[in-house]
């Protein structure tokens, strides 16, 4: 439910002459579903990291609503992300040794915001993503199931933004499709802004807006309606 506004963003790495990402202006409306595409080295992952607050912003401004991420310190950015962004990643980043439910609740617990209501919500989410055994240890699950747990975790604190980085890339076709469905459904349900970086054409086609990056610049920006009409 948060709108994104990027101004004069430039990300460069030491030793590289040209910035890996350079965006003068980009706006994403609240509640829209956006696909981010581009080959490797296109700056796609960097953009995801920047808008998720995972990377420090040295030049330019990135607003989520009224909050400029560039103004936040490392710790504050972590804190802001915890409350506002649901993150789903290619490698899940679930923690072995804990049950599925504990994994869903872990970030909330570590932030000391966990309460009975959140635990109830975790159970509900667990069913929403189509899983049955909340006590099952994460390392005994299939990859498709793991990504579902990761999605449930991302949704726990009702984030205004869901950012998914290649959510289906490490899954087989079938579970990839199911995960795609799930992401779209939960984002639509909650009215969250959804940003998905993916090469998965079938997933990309189902999103409203597509941004394509090349050499750190947005080269294509199309609305799905335009294509349809």
């Amino acid at each position: 439910m948060l709108p994104l506004k990027i101004e004069n963003l430039a990300v460069s790495f030491p030793g590289l002459a040209t910035p890996v990402l350079s965006i003068d202006r980009l706006e994403i409306a609240a509640g829209s579903h956006v696909a981010l595409t581009g080959g490797s080295g296109s700056g796609k992952s960097t953009l995801i990291n920047i808008i998720a607050g995972l990377e420090r912003i040295r030049a330019g401004r990135v607003f989520w609503g009224e909050q400029n991420l560039a103004d936040l310190s490392e710790g504050r950015r972590d804190q802001w992300r915890a409350g506002n962004i649901g993150l789903v990643m290619q490698d899940f980043h679930l923690f072995p040794g804990l049950s599925a439910l504990d994994n869903i609740l872990l970030p909330a617990r570590l932030s000391r915001v966990c309460n009975g209501e959140l635990i109830k919500r975790a159970h509900t989410l667990f069913e929403t993503v189509g899983l049955k055994r909340p006590e099952q240890h994460i390392e005994t699950m299939s990859r498709g199931e793991m990504q579902r747990v990761a999605i449930a975790r991302a949704l726990l604190r009702k984030p205004g933004v869901i950012i998914a980085d290649e959510p289906t890339a490490s899954l087989d076709l079938e579970s990839g499709e199911a995960v795609g469905d799930l992401l779209l459904a939960v984002a639509a349900d909650a009215g969250s802004t959804l940003i998905v970086a993916s090469h998965d054409q079938r997933l990309v086609e189902r999103l409203d807006r597509r941004l394509s990056l090349k050499s750190g610049r947005i080269v294509v920006d199309t609305q799905a309606e335009e294509i349809a009409t």
Partner: protein
């Protein structure tokens, strides 16, 4: 969070176990050295506690104390019997008792002494009674014999090639309560019995004594020479300085004293073979015929008396010693040894500290991704810090704890082995000083454990996740 930490530790249990082991071993080494040294100091001090003043012939103070209090038999120059007579009569002396040694039975030293010494240094009998006849013996608490047992003294010890006296045998009549001193391992018999076994100090027959002297006359020089050869330089000094009147007694005594050494024991055995009169009553008045003695234990009435007596008996042919002062100089040596050991222990601790730093660095490397992920999903800085810190600190603290226990039990085992051999009970225990060591170790661990936790925030989660 705790659940997460435990899940994490379970996952990394092997590495964790190695860290614990490493820390535990290094800690144990340091702790064992410290405890052992301290218990040796305390234990020997307590063993000497009961003996206020020891008077012997001029010679090595250390040897005098080792022989009379720690019962480490060694050839000692003898002090003239008249010294005992004088001490017993001294009004400043509560009691003075001779100590005669050299014989053993089943590995236990047989000590000739008096009733007043036994009652003055022990808390009483656990069973049986005090010896009353010449042929009776009293056991220290740690002697594994029972009342009624028969004791055939062996000259010297089995290890030094001694052999059993043919005639005499003592009968055990009592067993003392433990004192925690080497005397717990001793078989105590009337001093007159020891003299009689070795054919010395016949109080009943002055004539016999005289004849004895003549008989031995030829031997005196020979014995003296043998003494020199045995390298007891003090004996030489003793002979040279001795009053003519004391000469006979001293020389005769020397024979007895050197009989303690294995080399001359046989020789003496051949010439003298006294026997005890098992039914003779114990006489504890030491008159003119008292033979030379290796050591006299003195209980002065007051501390001032103790100092005065020590001063008085420190001139000429006698040597008055407070066991404490000898122990103090021994501890100085012990302290040097401890310094070496401590240096070794400190070195090993340094190695372990280095190993811990290495483990920490590797640990950080391994955990970069995990820490990055924790942050990416919104764990606050304090939580990440606590997780990383608690995990490392728990491992090290556990290692330190186990190390202290292992060190303690190692010191206990060492102390028990020492007690079994010497009878000196070594009190092993922790003190405030050890608490300080533990706090320092844990403090170091605490700081070290914070390093990876702090390093975790030197990079963005995105960088950490790329690792």
């Amino acid at each position: 969070m705790i659940r997460f930490i435990f899940a994490d530790l379970r996952r990394l249990w092997l590495g964790g176990a190695v860290v614990i082991l490493l820390v535990a071993l290094a800690t144990a080494l340091g702790v064992a050295v410290t405890l052992q040294e301290r218990s040796l100091r305390l234990g020997s001090a307590r063993a000497a506690d009961k003996f206020d003043l020891v008077v012997g012939a001029a010679g090595s103070e250390t040897q005098l104390i080792l022989s009379s209090i720690f019962l480490q038999a060694a050839p000692l120059p003898l002090v003239d019997g008249s010294v005992l007579t004088k001490l017993t009569a001294d009004p400043r002396v509560s009691w003075a008792a001779p100590v005669g040694f050299g014989d053993s039975f089943a590995g236990y030293p047989i000590i000739g002494t008096t009733i007043s010494l036994i009652s003055g240094t022990t808390t009483g009998f656990s069973e049986g009674k005090m010896f009353a006849l010449e042929g009776e013996a009293v056991l220290g608490a740690a002697v594994d014999l029972s009342i009624g047992a028969e004791i055939k003294p062996m000259h010297g010890t089995a290890e030094t090639g001694g052999h059993t006296h043919a005639g005499p045998a003592y009968k055990v009549v009592g067993k003392l309560q433990p004192t925690g001193t080497p005397w717990d391992r001793a078989i105590l018999v009337p001093i007159q019995a020891v003299w009689h076994v070795h054919n010395l100090g016949h109080e009943h027959g002055q004539e016999e004594e005289g004849a004895h002297h003549d008989e031995d006359g030829h031997d005196h020089a020979h014995e003296g020479e043998e003494g020199h050869e045995e390298g007891d330089a003090h004996a030489e000094g003793e002979t040279a300085r001795a009053e003519p009147a004391a000469q006979v007694g001293a020389q005769e005594g020397q024979k007895y004293a050197f009989a303690l050494g294995a080399a001359s024991s046989k020789h003496v055995e051949e010439e003298h073979h006294g026997s005890i009169d098992p039914d003779a009553p114990v006489v504890e008045t030491f008159g003119a015929g008292t033979p030379g003695l290796p050591a006299i234990l003195v209980k002065p009435k007051t501390i001032a008396d103790a100092y005065r007596l020590r001063q008085e008996y420190r001139s000429g042919s006698t040597l008055g010693v407070f066991p404490g002062e000898v122990l103090t100089s021994l501890y100085a040596t012990l302290g040097d040894a401890k310094m070496v050991l401590s240096a070794v222990a400190a070195g090993s601790q340094g190695l372990v500290a280095a190993a811990l730093v290495l483990v920490t660095v590797i640990h950080v490397g391994q955990r970069r991704r995990q820490i990055g992920a924790l942050r990416a999903f919104g764990a606050p800085r304090s939580s990440v810090f606590m997780i990383v810190w608690i995990e490392l600190f728990m491992l090290v603290a556990l290692g330190v704890g186990i190390g202290f226990l292992v060190g303690l039990s190692a010191a206990h085992v060492g102390a028990q082995m020492f007690t079994a051999k010497s009878g000196v009970i070594l009190p092993v225990g922790f003190t405030r000083e050890d608490l300080r060591l533990a706090v320092i170790l844990l403090g170091f661990a605490g700081v070290l454990a914070a390093v990876p936790a702090l390093l975790a925030y030197r990079q963005s989660p995105a960088q950490a996740l790329r690792a």
